[in-house]
Symmetry: C2
Subunit: 149 residues, 2 copies
DNA sequence: GAATACTTGACAATTTTACTAAGGTATTTT
DNA sequence: AAAATACCTTAGTAAAATTGTCAAGTATTC
């Protein structure tokens, strides 16, 4: 359950590739497609959204590609996924574009709201820099050791 | 993004209703359907899964219905969703029934794994008793006040 | 035996996902 | 200027998942 669409997954992986060229080496769709094993046509859709969201800018012509708008440490996974798939919304009640039909005291409303907030809080703490440096892996290891005591 | 299916949502609401009859008053599908505004036929499917998972037991005949197998404080949201939709698996790599094609060092593997673990850890802490008592709401309020200082 | 209520499996409509296709625009190099 | 590179945009579509419905049971109680 709670599967993330491939669009979101590929988007994060593509942003990771683009981050590697920061600040001045544009990364082409073709290059990303090869290294991350995703079709060029599908990536075009994804990167277009990220560009419109202002997370990356494009450089046309030979030698062109995409460049991160901000430094990797300032680009969170939350920002990427928000642009591609909208905000976390466990239920339709919590989707700003939909809303709740059962306005009355729904017993689960707070549950899903809290869960969504926790998820987004986590995704905001992880950045492209963390992916590149493997920080996340280390953090996780530390936590495991701590817990096993 | 990260929408939970209606099956999972209705399942939790149904379990909440059943919890209200614990330990000795069976709650009928019809009653749940009316109070939670879900069709009887759809609930049948859902409750059947929960029954096979051992979370509830059924009582046939007039006055029958479903009864919780354990006390509300021992039934976590995680257990309910696990039964209805399988474990949290943000990506197919992390689904025990699928697996990862890109076995090599995938940069995002740890990210999705950590997120999944965090989600499940939270869902394990919330029980049917919490839903009934509104504990979650109070916890959340406390947190907000703390943060706003 | 009539009423209540759970049991089971099949199936169908709708929506979402996960792409592909095709043609266009902008920039650089030769 | 022409060719090559690479981004840009919209439309369409097959497969899968979701979200149910339907029908024909079985078990229990009154």
């Amino acid at each position: 359950m709670l599967r993330l669409s491939t669009k979101g997954q590929y988007g994060v992986r593509a942003m990771f590739e683009i981050a590697r060229g920061y600040p001045d080496k544009p990364i082409s769709i073709k290059g990303i497609a090869e290294r991350q094993d995703v079709s060029v046509a599908y990536l075009e859709q994804i990167l277009n959204k990220l560009k419109n969201g202002g997370l990356i800018r494009s450089v046309k012509g030979p030698g062109g590609g995409y460049v991160l708008s901000k430094k990797p440490a300032d680009v969170s996974i939350s920002a990427i996924l928000n642009e591609l798939e909208g905000p976390v919304a466990i239920t339709s009640c919590l989707d700003p574009e939909e809303g709740c039909v059962r306005v009355d005291g729904c017993v689960t409303y707070m549950l899903w709201k809290s869960l969504g907030e926790k998820i987004d809080a986590f995704l905001r703490t992880v950045t492209l820099k963390d992916l590149a440096s493997g920080t996340l892996f280390k953090k996780n290891l530390k936590l495991k050791i701590k817990n096993s005591k």
